[in-house]
Protein backbone atom coordinates (compact mmCIF):
# COMPACT_ATOMS: atom_id res chain seq x y z
CA UNK A 1 0.00 0.00 0.00
CA UNK A 2 1.49 3.41 -0.92
CA UNK A 3 2.33 5.68 2.02
CA UNK A 4 -0.33 8.25 1.14
CA UNK A 5 -3.07 5.59 1.08
CA UNK A 6 -2.01 4.41 4.53
CA UNK A 7 -2.25 7.96 5.85
CA UNK A 8 -5.67 8.44 4.27
CA UNK A 9 -6.95 5.22 5.82
CA UNK A 10 -5.51 6.03 9.21
CA UNK A 11 -6.48 9.69 9.56
CA UNK A 12 -9.60 10.36 7.51
CA UNK A 13 -13.03 9.67 8.98
CA UNK A 14 -14.67 6.85 7.14
CA UNK A 15 -18.06 7.43 8.73
CA UNK A 16 -18.18 10.92 7.27
CA UNK A 17 -19.83 10.92 3.89
CA UNK A 18 -17.52 12.31 1.27
CA UNK A 19 -17.23 14.21 -1.12
CA UNK A 20 -15.91 17.18 0.82
CA UNK A 21 -17.20 20.73 0.39
CA UNK A 22 -14.15 22.23 -1.33
CA UNK A 23 -14.05 23.13 -5.05
CA UNK A 24 -11.89 21.01 -7.35
CA UNK A 25 -8.42 22.58 -7.36
CA UNK A 26 -8.78 24.23 -3.93
CA UNK A 27 -5.58 24.67 -1.93
CA UNK A 28 -7.13 23.50 1.36
CA UNK A 29 -6.73 19.85 0.32
CA UNK A 30 -2.98 20.35 -0.17
CA UNK A 31 -2.82 21.93 3.26
CA UNK A 32 -4.78 19.04 4.80
CA UNK A 33 -2.16 16.66 3.38
CA UNK A 34 0.64 18.69 4.95
CA UNK A 35 -1.19 18.78 8.28
CA UNK A 36 -1.62 15.01 8.38
CA UNK A 37 1.96 14.30 7.29
CA UNK A 38 3.34 16.60 10.00
CA UNK A 39 1.17 15.03 12.71
CA UNK A 40 2.14 11.56 11.52
CA UNK A 41 5.85 12.34 11.45
CA UNK A 42 5.78 13.72 14.99
CA UNK A 43 3.76 10.69 16.05
CA UNK A 44 0.96 12.28 18.06
CA UNK A 45 -1.75 9.88 19.19
CA UNK A 46 -5.08 10.67 17.55
CA UNK A 47 -6.70 10.96 21.00
CA UNK A 48 -4.37 13.76 22.07
CA UNK A 49 -4.90 15.97 19.01
CA UNK A 50 -7.68 18.57 19.06
CA UNK A 51 -8.45 20.36 15.82
CA UNK A 52 -10.42 23.58 16.27
CA UNK A 53 -11.77 25.68 13.42
CA UNK A 54 -13.94 28.73 12.82
CA UNK A 55 -16.34 29.39 9.97
CA UNK A 56 -15.75 29.37 6.24
CA UNK A 57 -14.18 26.95 3.76
CA UNK A 58 -11.28 26.30 6.15
CA UNK A 59 -13.75 25.78 9.01
CA UNK A 60 -15.00 22.60 7.37
CA UNK A 61 -11.61 20.89 7.52
CA UNK A 62 -11.74 19.21 10.97
CA UNK A 63 -14.88 17.21 10.22
CA UNK A 64 -12.99 14.99 7.77
CA UNK A 65 -10.18 14.02 10.13
CA UNK A 66 -10.26 11.47 12.93
CA UNK A 67 -9.19 13.61 15.90
CA UNK A 68 -11.13 15.43 18.61
CA UNK A 69 -12.65 18.05 16.34
CA UNK A 70 -14.46 21.29 17.08
CA UNK A 71 -16.11 23.59 14.57
CA UNK A 72 -16.78 26.80 16.49
CA UNK A 73 -18.36 30.19 15.76
CA UNK A 74 -16.96 32.65 13.22
CA UNK A 75 -13.63 34.12 14.33
CA UNK A 76 -13.77 32.57 17.82
CA UNK A 77 -11.79 29.37 17.31
CA UNK A 78 -8.80 30.65 19.29
CA UNK A 79 -10.96 31.44 22.31
CA UNK A 80 -12.39 27.91 22.46
CA UNK A 81 -8.87 26.53 21.94
CA UNK A 82 -7.62 28.65 24.85
CA UNK A 83 -10.17 27.04 27.16
CA UNK A 84 -9.40 23.52 25.96
CA UNK A 85 -5.64 23.92 26.35
CA UNK A 86 -5.85 25.47 29.82
CA UNK A 87 -8.32 22.82 30.98
CA UNK A 88 -6.21 19.94 29.67
CA UNK A 89 -2.60 20.94 28.91
CA UNK A 90 -1.78 17.41 27.71
CA UNK A 91 -3.76 17.95 24.52
CA UNK A 92 -2.12 19.16 21.31
CA UNK A 93 -4.47 21.93 20.22
CA UNK A 94 -4.29 23.07 16.60
CA UNK A 95 -6.47 25.91 15.34
CA UNK A 96 -7.35 26.29 11.66
CA UNK A 97 -8.73 29.57 10.38
CA UNK A 98 -9.26 31.46 7.16
CA UNK A 99 -8.14 35.04 6.54
CA UNK A 100 -11.54 36.59 7.27
CA UNK A 101 -11.95 34.30 10.25
CA UNK A 102 -8.55 35.09 11.80
CA UNK A 103 -7.97 38.77 11.09
CA UNK A 104 -11.41 40.31 10.42
CA UNK A 105 -14.03 39.00 12.84
CA UNK A 106 -11.40 37.17 14.92
CA UNK A 107 -8.64 39.80 14.72
CA UNK A 108 -8.88 40.76 18.37
CA UNK A 109 -8.67 37.14 19.52
CA UNK A 110 -5.72 36.54 17.20
CA UNK A 111 -3.51 39.32 18.53
CA UNK A 112 -4.40 38.56 22.15
CA UNK A 113 -3.74 34.84 21.81
CA UNK A 114 -0.32 35.72 20.36
CA UNK A 115 0.36 38.22 23.14
CA UNK A 116 -0.64 35.72 25.83
CA UNK A 117 1.61 33.01 24.41
CA UNK A 118 -0.58 30.06 25.21
CA UNK A 119 0.81 26.81 23.82
CA UNK A 120 -1.32 26.56 20.67
CA UNK A 121 -0.66 26.36 16.96
CA UNK A 122 -2.71 28.71 14.80
CA UNK A 123 -2.85 28.07 11.08
CA UNK A 124 -4.34 30.66 8.77
CA UNK A 125 -5.21 29.62 5.25
CA UNK A 126 -5.03 32.93 3.43
CA UNK A 127 -6.76 32.98 0.06
CA UNK A 128 -7.48 36.74 0.05
CA UNK A 129 -11.25 36.38 -0.16
CA UNK A 130 -14.43 35.15 1.53
CA UNK A 131 -14.93 32.03 -0.55
CA UNK A 132 -17.87 30.24 1.05
CA UNK A 133 -20.18 33.27 0.98
CA UNK A 134 -19.38 33.92 -2.66
CA UNK A 135 -16.29 36.09 -3.04
CA UNK A 136 -16.51 39.21 -0.89
CA UNK A 137 -13.40 41.22 -0.01
CA UNK A 138 -11.48 40.21 3.10
CA UNK A 139 -8.83 42.04 5.15
CA UNK A 140 -6.17 40.37 2.98
CA UNK A 141 -7.68 41.26 -0.40
CA UNK A 142 -4.92 43.38 -1.97
CA UNK A 143 -5.47 47.05 -2.79
CA UNK A 144 -7.00 47.57 -6.21
CA UNK A 145 -8.44 44.08 -6.58
CA UNK A 146 -11.99 43.09 -7.29
CA UNK A 147 -14.50 41.14 -5.22
CA UNK A 148 -18.30 40.98 -5.15
CA UNK A 149 -18.33 43.79 -2.57
CA UNK A 150 -15.56 45.81 -4.24
CA UNK A 151 -16.63 45.60 -7.85
CA UNK A 152 -15.18 49.06 -8.56
CA UNK A 153 -11.87 48.15 -6.85
CA UNK A 154 -10.74 47.48 -3.30
CA UNK A 155 -9.61 50.77 -1.74
CA UNK A 156 -8.38 49.30 1.57
CA UNK A 157 -4.86 48.23 2.45
CA UNK A 158 -4.48 44.57 3.32
CA UNK A 159 -3.22 42.97 6.50
CA UNK A 160 0.07 41.11 6.43
CA UNK A 161 -0.93 38.24 8.73
CA UNK A 162 2.50 36.85 9.56
CA UNK A 163 3.97 40.28 10.28
CA UNK A 164 0.95 40.99 12.50
CA UNK A 165 1.61 37.76 14.41
CA UNK A 166 5.29 38.69 14.87
CA UNK A 167 4.38 42.12 16.25
CA UNK A 168 1.67 40.67 18.52
CA UNK A 169 4.19 38.35 20.17
CA UNK A 170 3.94 34.87 18.60
CA UNK A 171 7.08 32.85 19.37
CA UNK A 172 7.10 31.07 16.03
CA UNK A 173 5.82 32.46 12.75
CA UNK A 174 6.21 30.71 9.42
CA UNK A 175 4.70 31.42 6.02
CA UNK A 176 4.37 29.00 3.16
CA UNK A 177 2.26 28.50 0.09
CA UNK A 178 0.31 25.49 -1.08
CA UNK A 179 2.65 25.40 -4.10
CA UNK A 180 5.70 24.88 -1.85
CA UNK A 181 4.25 21.73 -0.32
CA UNK A 182 7.49 20.43 1.18
CA UNK A 183 8.22 23.72 2.89
CA UNK A 184 4.67 23.63 4.26
CA UNK A 185 5.29 20.16 5.72
CA UNK A 186 8.39 21.34 7.53
CA UNK A 187 6.83 24.62 8.74
CA UNK A 188 3.91 22.72 10.27
CA UNK A 189 6.18 20.26 11.98
CA UNK A 190 8.29 23.08 13.43
CA UNK A 191 5.18 24.96 14.57
CA UNK A 192 3.71 21.88 16.26
CA UNK A 193 6.93 21.15 18.12
CA UNK A 194 7.41 24.76 19.23
CA UNK A 195 6.27 25.43 22.79
CA UNK A 196 4.16 28.59 22.93
CA UNK A 197 1.93 30.35 20.42
CA UNK A 198 3.04 29.32 16.93
CA UNK A 199 1.59 30.60 13.68
CA UNK A 200 1.74 29.26 10.14
CA UNK A 201 0.28 31.39 7.39
CA UNK A 202 -0.56 29.32 4.36
CA UNK A 203 -0.90 31.33 1.15
CA UNK A 204 -3.56 29.58 -0.89
CA UNK A 205 -5.69 30.39 -3.90
CA UNK A 206 -9.40 30.69 -4.48
CA UNK A 207 -9.64 30.37 -8.24
CA UNK A 208 -13.42 29.96 -7.98
CA UNK A 209 -13.97 33.42 -6.52
CA UNK A 210 -10.85 35.57 -6.28
CA UNK A 211 -9.22 34.15 -9.39
CA UNK A 212 -12.34 34.34 -11.52
CA UNK A 213 -13.26 37.87 -10.51
CA UNK A 214 -9.71 39.15 -11.10
CA UNK A 215 -9.01 37.08 -14.23
CA UNK A 216 -6.08 35.27 -12.61
CA UNK A 217 -6.78 31.99 -14.35
CA UNK A 218 -7.18 28.45 -13.12
CA UNK A 219 -5.91 26.87 -9.89
CA UNK A 220 -2.75 25.81 -11.73
CA UNK A 221 -2.05 29.33 -12.96
CA UNK A 222 -2.64 30.76 -9.52
CA UNK A 223 -0.20 28.26 -8.05
CA UNK A 224 2.35 29.26 -10.68
CA UNK A 225 1.94 32.80 -9.37
CA UNK A 226 2.82 31.50 -5.91
CA UNK A 227 5.90 29.78 -7.37
CA UNK A 228 7.06 32.93 -9.13
CA UNK A 229 6.36 35.45 -6.38
CA UNK A 230 7.47 33.69 -3.22
CA UNK A 231 10.96 34.50 -1.98
CA UNK A 232 12.61 32.43 0.75
CA UNK A 233 13.40 34.56 3.81
CA UNK A 234 17.15 33.74 3.57
CA UNK A 235 17.31 34.87 -0.03
CA UNK A 236 15.39 38.07 0.68
CA UNK A 237 18.13 39.25 3.03
CA UNK A 238 20.41 39.72 0.00
CA UNK A 239 17.80 41.55 -2.06
CA UNK A 240 17.05 45.26 -2.37
CA UNK A 241 13.66 46.59 -1.10
CA UNK A 242 12.52 47.45 -4.66
CA UNK A 243 13.21 43.89 -5.76
CA UNK A 244 10.95 42.64 -2.95
CA UNK A 245 8.03 44.87 -3.97
CA UNK A 246 4.90 42.71 -4.38
CA UNK A 247 6.69 39.52 -3.34
CA UNK A 248 5.78 37.24 -0.46
CA UNK A 249 8.43 36.02 1.97
CA UNK A 250 8.24 32.33 2.79
CA UNK A 251 9.99 30.31 5.46
CA UNK A 252 10.51 30.92 9.18
CA UNK A 253 9.93 34.59 9.98
CA UNK A 254 10.42 34.32 13.72
CA UNK A 255 11.56 31.65 16.17
CA UNK A 256 12.11 33.00 19.66
CA UNK A 257 11.55 32.25 23.32
CA UNK A 258 9.09 34.11 25.54
CA UNK A 259 7.43 33.03 28.82
CA UNK A 260 4.67 30.51 28.14
CA UNK A 261 1.29 31.17 29.74
CA UNK A 262 0.76 27.71 31.24
CA UNK A 263 4.21 27.62 32.81
CA UNK A 264 3.72 31.09 34.26
CA UNK A 265 0.28 30.13 35.56
CA UNK A 266 1.76 27.11 37.31
CA UNK A 267 3.91 29.55 39.30
CA UNK A 268 0.78 31.57 40.12
CA UNK A 269 -0.84 28.41 41.50
CA UNK A 270 2.17 27.80 43.75
CA UNK A 271 2.06 31.38 45.03
CA UNK A 272 -1.72 31.19 45.55
CA UNK A 273 -1.40 27.98 47.56
CA UNK A 274 1.44 29.37 49.67
CA UNK A 275 -0.61 32.49 50.31
CA UNK A 276 -3.68 30.41 51.29
CA UNK A 277 -1.59 28.38 53.74
CA UNK A 278 -0.30 31.55 55.39
CA UNK A 279 -3.99 32.53 55.67
Amino acid sequence: MPEITKLIHHYLRHDKKFPHVWCPGCGIGIFLGALIRAIDRIGYEKDEVVLVSGIGCSGRLPVYVDFNTLHTTHGRALTFATGIKLANPNLKVIVIMGDGDAVAIGGNHFIHAARRNIDLTAIIINNSIYGMTGGQSSPTTPYGMRSTTTVYSNIEQSFKISELAVTAGAVFVGRGTVYHAKLLDSLMEKAFLKRGFSVVEVISHCHTQYGRQNRLGSAVEMMKWQRDNAIPVEKSLKMRPEELEGKILIGVLVDRELPIYQEEYEKIRERAKASAERG
Binding site: V63, H71, T72, T82, H109
Partner: protein, 372 residues
Protein backbone atom coordinates in the same frame (compact mmCIF):
# COMPACT_ATOMS: atom_id res chain seq x y z
CA UNK B 1 -20.21 35.01 58.05
CA UNK B 2 -20.74 38.36 56.37
CA UNK B 3 -20.67 37.84 52.62
CA UNK B 4 -21.41 39.83 49.48
CA UNK B 5 -23.70 38.43 46.78
CA UNK B 6 -20.93 38.33 44.19
CA UNK B 7 -18.56 36.67 46.68
CA UNK B 8 -21.21 34.08 47.46
CA UNK B 9 -21.53 33.30 43.75
CA UNK B 10 -17.76 32.76 43.51
CA UNK B 11 -17.78 30.49 46.57
CA UNK B 12 -20.84 28.61 45.32
CA UNK B 13 -19.10 28.01 42.01
CA UNK B 14 -16.07 26.53 43.78
CA UNK B 15 -18.34 24.33 45.91
CA UNK B 16 -20.07 23.10 42.76
CA UNK B 17 -16.71 22.03 41.35
CA UNK B 18 -16.04 24.94 39.01
CA UNK B 19 -12.33 24.95 38.16
CA UNK B 20 -12.25 27.34 35.22
CA UNK B 21 -13.34 30.94 34.94
CA UNK B 22 -12.85 33.28 31.99
CA UNK B 23 -14.17 36.81 32.16
CA UNK B 24 -13.82 40.45 31.27
CA UNK B 25 -14.09 43.28 33.83
CA UNK B 26 -17.53 44.84 34.05
CA UNK B 27 -19.49 46.62 36.76
CA UNK B 28 -21.39 45.31 38.75
CA UNK B 29 -20.07 41.74 38.25
CA UNK B 30 -16.33 42.32 38.65
CA UNK B 31 -16.03 41.00 42.22
CA UNK B 32 -16.83 37.50 40.97
CA UNK B 33 -13.74 37.67 38.72
CA UNK B 34 -11.61 39.18 41.43
CA UNK B 35 -12.48 36.55 44.01
CA UNK B 36 -12.01 33.68 41.58
CA UNK B 37 -8.67 35.06 40.36
CA UNK B 38 -7.48 34.56 43.95
CA UNK B 39 -9.34 31.36 44.80
CA UNK B 40 -9.11 29.24 41.64
CA UNK B 41 -5.30 28.90 41.52
CA UNK B 42 -5.40 27.79 45.18
CA UNK B 43 -7.39 24.72 44.16
CA UNK B 44 -5.49 23.93 40.92
CA UNK B 45 -8.15 25.68 38.90
CA UNK B 46 -7.64 28.31 36.21
CA UNK B 47 -8.67 31.94 36.05
CA UNK B 48 -8.07 33.88 32.84
CA UNK B 49 -9.03 37.42 31.91
CA UNK B 50 -9.91 37.42 28.23
CA UNK B 51 -9.94 40.23 25.66
CA UNK B 52 -13.75 40.54 25.67
CA UNK B 53 -16.92 38.72 26.67
CA UNK B 54 -17.15 36.84 23.38
CA UNK B 55 -13.76 35.31 24.10
CA UNK B 56 -14.71 34.68 27.72
CA UNK B 57 -17.64 32.44 26.86
CA UNK B 58 -15.64 30.80 24.05
CA UNK B 59 -12.91 29.82 26.54
CA UNK B 60 -15.52 28.61 29.04
CA UNK B 61 -17.11 26.33 26.42
CA UNK B 62 -13.68 25.02 25.40
CA UNK B 63 -12.75 24.25 29.01
CA UNK B 64 -16.04 22.45 29.60
CA UNK B 65 -15.53 20.39 26.47
CA UNK B 66 -12.15 19.36 27.86
CA UNK B 67 -13.91 18.17 31.03
CA UNK B 68 -13.63 21.05 33.50
CA UNK B 69 -16.67 22.76 35.00
CA UNK B 70 -16.53 26.35 33.82
CA UNK B 71 -18.23 29.69 34.36
CA UNK B 72 -18.16 33.33 33.30
CA UNK B 73 -19.79 36.40 34.84
CA UNK B 74 -20.82 39.67 33.25
CA UNK B 75 -23.44 42.41 33.05
CA UNK B 76 -25.74 43.65 30.28
CA UNK B 77 -23.23 44.91 27.69
CA UNK B 78 -21.10 41.80 28.08
CA UNK B 79 -24.14 39.55 28.10
CA UNK B 80 -25.14 41.04 24.74
CA UNK B 81 -21.74 40.04 23.35
CA UNK B 82 -22.11 36.52 24.72
CA UNK B 83 -25.31 35.74 22.85
CA UNK B 84 -23.38 34.30 19.88
CA UNK B 85 -21.47 31.68 21.84
CA UNK B 86 -24.44 31.07 24.13
CA UNK B 87 -26.25 29.68 21.09
CA UNK B 88 -23.23 27.50 20.34
CA UNK B 89 -23.31 25.98 23.83
CA UNK B 90 -27.02 25.27 23.38
CA UNK B 91 -26.76 23.55 19.99
CA UNK B 92 -23.56 21.67 20.84
CA UNK B 93 -24.94 20.84 24.32
CA UNK B 94 -21.92 21.98 26.33
CA UNK B 95 -22.58 22.56 30.06
CA UNK B 96 -21.52 25.97 31.39
CA UNK B 97 -22.75 28.70 33.73
CA UNK B 98 -23.17 32.38 32.86
CA UNK B 99 -23.84 34.91 35.60
CA UNK B 100 -25.46 38.15 34.47
CA UNK B 101 -25.56 40.82 37.17
CA UNK B 102 -28.20 43.09 35.68
CA UNK B 103 -27.68 46.83 35.55
CA UNK B 104 -29.72 49.58 33.93
CA UNK B 105 -29.86 49.56 30.12
CA UNK B 106 -30.08 49.72 27.17
CA UNK B 107 -26.46 50.03 26.02
CA UNK B 108 -23.97 51.29 28.61
CA UNK B 109 -26.99 52.47 30.56
CA UNK B 110 -26.57 52.67 34.32
CA UNK B 111 -23.44 50.69 35.23
CA UNK B 112 -23.75 51.03 39.01
CA UNK B 113 -27.52 50.89 39.43
CA UNK B 114 -29.84 47.90 39.51
CA UNK B 115 -32.40 46.80 36.94
CA UNK B 116 -34.17 43.66 35.80
CA UNK B 117 -34.25 44.44 32.12
CA UNK B 118 -32.50 41.31 30.80
CA UNK B 119 -35.19 38.74 31.61
CA UNK B 120 -36.38 38.45 28.01
CA UNK B 121 -32.84 38.72 26.64
CA UNK B 122 -31.83 35.77 28.80
CA UNK B 123 -34.72 33.84 27.30
CA UNK B 124 -34.45 34.88 23.67
CA UNK B 125 -31.19 36.80 23.24
CA UNK B 126 -29.43 34.29 21.06
CA UNK B 127 -30.91 33.68 17.63
CA UNK B 128 -32.97 30.67 16.67
CA UNK B 129 -35.58 28.71 18.58
CA UNK B 130 -33.95 27.19 21.63
CA UNK B 131 -34.54 26.06 25.20
CA UNK B 132 -32.72 27.75 28.09
CA UNK B 133 -32.58 27.61 31.88
CA UNK B 134 -32.48 30.90 33.79
CA UNK B 135 -32.28 31.10 37.58
CA UNK B 136 -32.56 34.02 39.94
CA UNK B 137 -31.59 34.83 43.54
CA UNK B 138 -32.72 37.41 46.04
CA UNK B 139 -30.48 36.78 49.05
CA UNK B 140 -26.75 36.25 49.49
CA UNK B 141 -27.34 32.69 50.63
CA UNK B 142 -29.42 32.09 47.49
CA UNK B 143 -26.56 33.44 45.38
CA UNK B 144 -24.46 30.59 46.76
CA UNK B 145 -27.16 27.93 46.47
CA UNK B 146 -28.42 28.95 43.05
CA UNK B 147 -24.89 29.00 41.61
CA UNK B 148 -24.49 25.38 42.73
CA UNK B 149 -27.91 24.61 41.30
CA UNK B 150 -26.93 26.30 38.02
CA UNK B 151 -23.91 24.00 37.71
CA UNK B 152 -25.96 20.92 38.62
CA UNK B 153 -28.69 21.64 36.08
CA UNK B 154 -26.12 22.52 33.45
CA UNK B 155 -24.28 19.23 33.92
CA UNK B 156 -27.50 17.26 34.20
CA UNK B 157 -29.11 18.61 31.02
CA UNK B 158 -26.03 19.60 28.99
CA UNK B 159 -27.21 23.15 28.58
CA UNK B 160 -25.84 26.59 29.50
CA UNK B 161 -27.55 27.89 32.64
CA UNK B 162 -27.87 31.61 33.25
CA UNK B 163 -27.95 33.03 36.76
CA UNK B 164 -29.72 36.36 36.48
CA UNK B 165 -29.31 38.59 39.50
CA UNK B 166 -29.38 42.34 39.96
CA UNK B 167 -26.90 44.89 41.24
CA UNK B 168 -28.61 45.11 44.65
CA UNK B 169 -28.30 41.41 45.42
CA UNK B 170 -24.79 41.26 43.92
CA UNK B 171 -23.39 44.09 46.02
CA UNK B 172 -25.41 43.52 49.17
CA UNK B 173 -23.63 42.13 52.22
CA UNK B 174 -25.60 40.08 54.68
CA UNK B 175 -25.08 37.34 57.21
CA UNK B 176 -24.87 33.87 55.74
CA UNK B 177 -24.75 30.73 57.84
CA UNK B 178 -23.02 27.65 56.48
CA UNK B 179 -23.49 24.56 58.65
CA UNK B 180 -20.63 22.09 59.01
CA UNK B 181 -22.79 19.09 58.11
CA UNK B 182 -24.73 20.68 55.26
CA UNK B 183 -25.50 18.15 52.57
CA UNK B 184 -25.03 19.76 49.20
CA UNK B 185 -25.74 17.63 46.20
CA UNK B 186 -23.27 17.96 43.36
CA UNK B 187 -24.15 16.56 39.96
CA UNK B 188 -21.47 15.69 37.42
CA UNK B 189 -22.17 15.10 33.74
CA UNK B 190 -22.87 11.53 32.70
CA UNK B 191 -20.01 10.15 30.63
CA UNK B 192 -20.19 7.32 28.12
CA UNK B 193 -19.39 3.85 29.47
CA UNK B 194 -19.43 2.00 26.17
CA UNK B 195 -16.23 1.47 24.16
CA UNK B 196 -15.37 4.45 21.91
CA UNK B 197 -16.30 2.67 18.69
CA UNK B 198 -19.87 2.27 19.99
CA UNK B 199 -20.24 5.85 21.17
CA UNK B 200 -22.79 7.90 19.22
CA UNK B 201 -22.35 11.37 20.74
CA UNK B 202 -25.77 12.88 20.02
CA UNK B 203 -27.95 9.77 20.13
CA UNK B 204 -31.31 10.15 21.86
CA UNK B 205 -31.80 8.62 25.31
CA UNK B 206 -34.92 8.24 27.48
CA UNK B 207 -34.04 11.52 29.23
CA UNK B 208 -33.12 13.21 25.97
CA UNK B 209 -29.65 13.93 27.34
CA UNK B 210 -26.88 11.93 25.65
CA UNK B 211 -23.79 11.00 27.71
CA UNK B 212 -20.96 13.45 27.12
CA UNK B 213 -17.38 12.44 26.37
CA UNK B 214 -14.69 14.95 27.20
CA UNK B 215 -12.04 15.74 24.62
CA UNK B 216 -8.90 13.70 25.20
CA UNK B 217 -10.56 10.71 26.84
CA UNK B 218 -10.46 8.42 23.82
CA UNK B 219 -13.85 9.22 22.33
CA UNK B 220 -12.93 11.17 19.23
CA UNK B 221 -15.96 12.94 17.84
CA UNK B 222 -17.03 16.10 16.07
CA UNK B 223 -18.62 19.11 17.74
CA UNK B 224 -20.19 21.80 15.58
CA UNK B 225 -22.55 24.76 15.74
CA UNK B 226 -24.21 23.51 12.56
CA UNK B 227 -27.30 21.34 12.91
CA UNK B 228 -25.87 17.86 13.17
CA UNK B 229 -26.86 14.22 12.99
CA UNK B 230 -26.58 11.83 15.93
CA UNK B 231 -22.88 11.32 15.17
CA UNK B 232 -22.24 15.06 15.37
CA UNK B 233 -21.66 15.58 11.65
CA UNK B 234 -23.30 18.52 9.87
CA UNK B 235 -26.59 17.66 8.25
CA UNK B 236 -29.25 19.47 6.24
CA UNK B 237 -31.62 16.50 6.08
CA UNK B 238 -35.08 17.40 7.43
CA UNK B 239 -35.50 13.88 8.87
CA UNK B 240 -32.38 14.44 11.00
CA UNK B 241 -32.82 18.13 11.87
CA UNK B 242 -36.41 17.77 13.09
CA UNK B 243 -35.76 15.06 15.71
CA UNK B 244 -32.56 16.83 16.82
CA UNK B 245 -34.21 20.18 17.54
CA UNK B 246 -37.19 18.40 19.09
CA UNK B 247 -34.85 16.53 21.45
CA UNK B 248 -33.11 19.77 22.48
CA UNK B 249 -36.49 21.11 23.62
CA UNK B 250 -37.78 17.83 25.05
CA UNK B 251 -34.80 17.33 27.36
CA UNK B 252 -35.90 20.51 29.15
CA UNK B 253 -39.70 20.38 28.73
CA UNK B 254 -39.91 16.83 30.09
CA UNK B 255 -38.00 17.80 33.25
CA UNK B 256 -39.79 20.96 34.38
CA UNK B 257 -40.29 19.62 37.91
CA UNK B 258 -36.54 19.09 38.35
CA UNK B 259 -35.67 22.50 36.96
CA UNK B 260 -38.34 24.78 38.37
CA UNK B 261 -38.03 26.25 41.83
CA UNK B 262 -40.14 28.84 43.64
CA UNK B 263 -40.95 29.92 47.17
CA UNK B 264 -44.56 30.32 48.32
CA UNK B 265 -44.86 32.77 51.22
CA UNK B 266 -48.34 32.93 52.80
CA UNK B 267 -50.02 32.20 49.49
CA UNK B 268 -52.35 29.38 50.59
CA UNK B 269 -55.18 31.71 51.62
CA UNK B 270 -54.01 34.80 49.73
CA UNK B 271 -56.57 36.80 47.83
CA UNK B 272 -53.78 38.93 46.45
CA UNK B 273 -50.45 37.43 45.48
CA UNK B 274 -47.34 39.32 44.57
CA UNK B 275 -45.13 37.59 42.01
CA UNK B 276 -41.55 38.82 42.25
CA UNK B 277 -37.91 37.81 41.87
CA UNK B 278 -34.46 39.18 42.70
CA UNK B 279 -34.15 42.24 44.93
CA UNK B 280 -37.84 43.12 44.36
CA UNK B 281 -38.84 39.88 46.10
CA UNK B 282 -37.23 41.25 49.28
CA UNK B 283 -39.38 44.39 49.17
CA UNK B 284 -42.41 42.26 48.30
CA UNK B 285 -41.85 40.03 51.33
CA UNK B 286 -41.78 43.08 53.59
CA UNK B 287 -44.94 44.39 51.93
CA UNK B 288 -46.71 41.05 52.53
CA UNK B 289 -45.82 41.14 56.23
CA UNK B 290 -47.06 44.71 56.57
CA UNK B 291 -50.25 44.01 54.63
CA UNK B 292 -50.97 40.96 56.80
CA UNK B 293 -50.54 43.15 59.89
CA UNK B 294 -53.25 45.34 58.47
CA UNK B 295 -55.43 42.26 58.01
CA UNK B 296 -55.15 41.83 54.25
CA UNK B 297 -54.74 38.31 52.91
CA UNK B 298 -51.64 38.88 50.78
CA UNK B 299 -48.99 36.35 49.73
CA UNK B 300 -45.76 36.21 47.75
CA UNK B 301 -44.73 33.87 44.99
CA UNK B 302 -40.97 34.26 44.65
CA UNK B 303 -39.71 32.91 41.35
CA UNK B 304 -36.27 31.32 41.56
CA UNK B 305 -36.46 29.70 38.14
CA UNK B 306 -37.34 32.40 35.60
CA UNK B 307 -37.10 30.19 32.51
CA UNK B 308 -38.69 27.81 31.71
CA UNK B 309 -41.50 29.98 33.05
CA UNK B 310 -43.27 28.49 36.08
CA UNK B 311 -46.79 28.10 34.76
CA UNK B 312 -47.66 25.57 37.49
CA UNK B 313 -46.63 27.94 40.31
CA UNK B 314 -48.78 30.74 38.90
CA UNK B 315 -51.69 28.34 38.48
CA UNK B 316 -51.28 27.28 42.11
CA UNK B 317 -51.60 30.84 43.47
CA UNK B 318 -54.50 31.48 41.08
CA UNK B 319 -56.55 28.92 43.05
CA UNK B 320 -57.15 31.59 45.72
CA UNK B 321 -55.90 34.86 44.29
CA UNK B 322 -58.26 37.34 42.71
CA UNK B 323 -55.47 39.83 42.14
CA UNK B 324 -51.88 39.26 41.08
CA UNK B 325 -49.31 42.02 41.36
CA UNK B 326 -46.06 41.77 39.42
CA UNK B 327 -43.58 44.45 40.52
CA UNK B 328 -40.50 44.50 38.27
CA UNK B 329 -37.59 46.78 37.53
CA UNK B 330 -38.35 46.73 33.82
CA UNK B 331 -41.35 47.71 31.70
CA UNK B 332 -43.12 44.39 32.31
CA UNK B 333 -41.24 41.30 31.18
CA UNK B 334 -42.42 38.62 33.62
CA UNK B 335 -45.86 40.22 33.97
CA UNK B 336 -46.58 39.34 30.33
CA UNK B 337 -45.84 35.71 31.09
CA UNK B 338 -48.12 35.91 34.13
CA UNK B 339 -50.90 37.36 31.97
CA UNK B 340 -50.36 34.59 29.43
CA UNK B 341 -50.86 31.95 32.13
CA UNK B 342 -53.63 33.87 33.88
CA UNK B 343 -55.88 33.95 30.80
CA UNK B 344 -58.19 36.47 32.45
CA UNK B 345 -58.81 34.44 35.65
CA UNK B 346 -57.51 37.09 38.06
CA UNK B 347 -56.75 40.75 37.70
CA UNK B 348 -53.04 41.21 36.92
CA UNK B 349 -51.51 44.44 38.12
CA UNK B 350 -48.07 45.67 37.21
CA UNK B 351 -45.67 47.96 39.00
CA UNK B 352 -42.74 48.99 36.86
CA UNK B 353 -39.75 51.09 37.69
CA UNK B 354 -36.81 51.76 35.39
CA UNK B 355 -35.04 54.72 36.98
CA UNK B 356 -32.18 52.82 38.63
CA UNK B 357 -33.78 52.73 42.07
CA UNK B 358 -35.31 49.72 43.74
CA UNK B 359 -39.01 49.18 44.23
CA UNK B 360 -39.70 49.77 47.93
CA UNK B 361 -42.12 47.87 50.22
CA UNK B 362 -44.25 51.02 50.60
CA UNK B 363 -44.55 51.41 46.83
CA UNK B 364 -45.77 47.82 46.62
CA UNK B 365 -48.15 48.36 49.55
CA UNK B 366 -49.71 51.45 48.07
CA UNK B 367 -50.19 49.67 44.73
CA UNK B 368 -51.89 46.85 46.62
CA UNK B 369 -54.10 49.26 48.53
CA UNK B 370 -55.20 50.89 45.28
CA UNK B 371 -56.57 47.51 44.24
CA UNK B 372 -58.30 46.76 47.53
Amino acid sequence: MLLQGNEAIAEGALRAGCRFFAGYPITPATEISEVLSVRLPQVDGTFIQMEDEIASLGAVIGASLAGVKAMTATSGPGFSLMQENLGFAIIAEIPCVIVNVMRGGPSTGLPTFPAQGDVMQARWGTHGDHPIIVLSASTVRECYDMTIRAFNLSERFRIPVILLIDEVVAHMREKVIFFEDEKIEIFNRIKPTMPPEWYIPYEDTPSGVPPMANFGEGYRYHVTGLTHDIRGFPTSRPDEIGPFIARLHRKISSHFSEIQMAEFFLTDDAEMTIIAYGCVARSARRAVIEAREKGHRVGLLKLMTLWPFMRNAVERVLQTAKVLLVPEMNMGQISREVKRVNQGVAKVLTLNKVDGTIITPSEILSRLEEAL
